[in-house]
């Protein structure tokens, strides 16, 4: 990819930024209250929110990463996308509507509903900020690698500058547009991403007479080393008993983590009713599912038309599969469009993460713990959220620059594992188990969070292997890079034990929560302007 391409890529991306900034500024009108700023006035429709959820969820890792994994490792890349999709049924059946009916802005609203407010909110905010920050850091550091790939900027200084620009834009979106502006950025990005991937998918299929079997055959022919093996499972994870167990563990974290990701949960508050929250998830499931079907074709298409060897040799390795395929199909213009979409993807996801973490700080910690739910100044919550967003943005830029080039892919796995271990058990117990209490919630959140982080630190993702974050150190006593298979059941158990070992129970408060959750009585309404 030469310099002319870089100029073209930057121009297309600049157009995206200009359009989204105009939309964000327009969206910022009429933002008076915390409900406007943190929940977009609860005025988005189900379909709009569903598209935004797809925009929030389909990160660069799932677009570039999965297509690349399929191109190089074949079927094993496809396994990721299935976990990411099936996970949405947990959100649809067990979480979305009940959460919408009982909360206001954050996960902490639901978890603390019938518990002692301050300790549970502190725990929920800790977990929210931990998950969001791991995810954010992974995205920001990933932006560095993407820059090398798409713009031909290989120097660390240049990459640091681009990470700072991405972070600066993200702060601008969140400060100016709040949840409403962020949502529109996600909607625009999701539409571009899905249309872009759809066009490429049709193009690839067209080259093989719309015959999937012929496409697979071409991918096999172009994979001299792996050959037929790319069509079946096991190329990436099938090597040893440990790697197989690691994959099982990853599969569990993927399917149970999604419904515990705070930035996804927060999106359910941007619609007026539980029914619209349901429609959001339905739209999200269809869009995400169709998108992952596209990536299956794109991955094998990149294998067939570009080839695994060329992909592995390119800067950015597997992440370069989709851009290289775009170049092979449509030349520099399509490459520029796909590159801009990839950037837009990072921007939209980091903006969503930032507003989630700042909402949790402003609402759970500032308004409910420090001010004990009694705010004299109505604008204080929004002001604190804005300040927090700037702080988080600056820290994320610094962290992203420091982590650039490090092998931190495990951070996304860590975010999912924490969400599945600390958040999901606590959410499910809160919504469905009458006896559940403050001690149980604290045990499952803090226990799940600390166990997951401990196991990751002691895993080969951090030390002991050439691919580790610290390859020269050696404290990998836990053999799996994905802790879910241990941490998820342990967290469920901790939540149970903490509950039964504490005498606290409040059946009256559970009655209120359950009636509200199932009927929507007294649920937060859309603001009217």
């Amino acid at each position: 990819m030469n310099n002319n391409n870089a100029v073209l890529n930057i121009s297309i991306f600049a157009v995206f930024v200009a359009i989204t900034l105009v939309v964000v500024i327009r969206a910022s009108r009429n933002q008076k209250t915390a409900a406007d700023y943190l929940a977009a006035g609860r005025a988005f429709t189900g379909p709009q929110n569903g598209i935004a959820i797809a925009g929030d969820y389909l990160s660069a890792a799932s677009f570039l990463g999965i297509a690349g994994a399929i191109a190089v490792n074949g079927y094993d890349g496809f396994l990721y996308s299935i976990g990411f999709l099936v996970a949405w049924l947990v959100a649809l059946l067990l979480v979305a509507e009940l959460l919408r009916n009982t909360g206001k802005y954050t996960m902490g609203d639901v978890l603390a509903f019938r518990m002692r407010q301050r300790p549970v909110r502190a725990a929920a905010a800790t977990s929210t900020m931990a998950v969001s920050f791991f995810y954010l850091l992974a995205q920001m550091a990933g932006a560095g690698g993407l820059v090398a790939l798409l713009l031909g900027i290989t120097g660390k200084g240049g990459q640091a500058l681009v990470i700072a620009v991405v972070g600066g834009l993200m702060i601008a979106y969140v400060l100016i547009g709040g949840m409403k502006g962020t949502t529109w950025v996600q909607i625009i990005k999701a539409v571009l991403l899905i249309i872009g991937a759809g066009v490429m998918t049709l193009w690839v299929l067209g080259k093989y007479g719309f015959n999937l079997s012929a496409l697979l055959g071409a991918a096999v022919d172009n994979a001299p080393k792996a050959g037929e093996k790319i069509l079946g499972p096991g190329l990436q994870y099938g090597a040893t008993g440990t790697s197989k167990l690691d994959f099982l563990s990853l599969g569990l974290a993927l399917v149970l983590g999604t419904a515990g990701l705070p930035h996804i949960l927060m999106r359910f508050y941007t619609v007026p009713t539980a029914k619209e929250a349901r429609r959001s998830v339905v739209w999200a499931i269809w869009l995400i599912g169709i998108f992952y079907l596209f990536t299956l074709v794109l991955g094998y298409g990149a294998g067939a038309l570009v080839g695994p060897d060329k992909i592995n040799a390119a800067p950015g390795k597997v992440n370069s599969a989709a851009p290289l395929l775009a170049e092979a199909l449509g030349g520099p213009v399509l490459l520029g469009l796909i590159a801009a979409v990839a950037f837009a993807t990072i921007l939209a996801v980091v903006a969503g993460l930032t507003i989630t973490a700042s909402a949790s700080f402003a609402h759970d910690i500032y308004a409910n713990i420090i001010k004990k739910g009694k705010l004299e100044d109505k604008n204080a919550e929004v002001r604190v959220a804005r300040i927090t967003a700037v702080v988080i943005g600056v820290v994320a830029i610094g962290g992203g620059i420091a982590a650039n080039g490090q092998n931190i892919a495990f951070l996304v796995a860590l975010a999912f594992a924490v969400a599945a271990s600390a958040n999901l058990p606590t959410i499910l117990y809160s919504l469905f188990w009458k006896r559940f209490n403050t001690a149980g919630a604290l045990w499952s959140i803090y226990g799940g969070l600390s166990l997951t982080i401990l196991l990751i630190v002691l895993s080969p993702a951090v030390s002991g292997k050439a691919t580790s974050m610290f390859p020269t150190a050696d404290f990998d006593v836990f053999p799996l890079s994905n802790p879910g298979i241990v941490s998820i059941p342990v967290s469920f158990l901790l939540g149970y034990l903490g509950t039964v070992l504490s005498k606290e129970k409040d059946p009256g408060k559970y009655a209120e929560m359950e009636v509200r959750a199932l009927t929507g009585v007294g649920a937060e309404k859309a603001t009217v302007h």
Partner: protein, 117 residues
């Protein structure tokens, strides 16, 4: 529990209901039964089906690589069936919720909110 520990609910005030009484009312018990008797078995079903698929992909490489039609093998078909089952369960749930949950929930909500409007 003191009121300091449980400050007034964060959500809109529709207080003064006897929540336990509502929770024990036949209408609400029926609504809960309709919700739980659908979502719990369905959640169990898709989790078992997903786990079965992951275990096959993880430990039955030979079976999953068996070719069925051209280059399309059992693994790919099972993978695509995960998409089909996800879309199908989504559609079934929406139909169930629209028909059996929403009207019942609305009835209870109207009754509770209407009494204090």
């Amino acid at each position: 529990m003191s009121t300091a520990e449980h400050p007034p609910a964060e959500t809109n005030p529709v207080d003064e209901h006897n929540w336990v009484e509502v929770q024990n009312s036949p209408e609400f018990v029926e609504l809960r039964r309709r919700l739980r008797s659908f979502v719990f078995p369905m959640a169990g079903l898709f989790l078992v089906w997903y786990l079965l698929y992951v275990l096959l992909a993880d430990y039955a490489h030979g079976f999953m690589s068996t070719k069925v039609l051209g280059n399309i093998n059992v693994g790919l078909i099972f993978g695509l069936l995960q998409f089909v089952s996800t879309f199908a369960i989504t559609t079934l749930y929406v139909r169930h919720a629209n028909k059996n949950l929403d009207p019942a929930a609305e009835q209870i909500r109207t009754k509770l909110e209407g009494g204090h409007a």
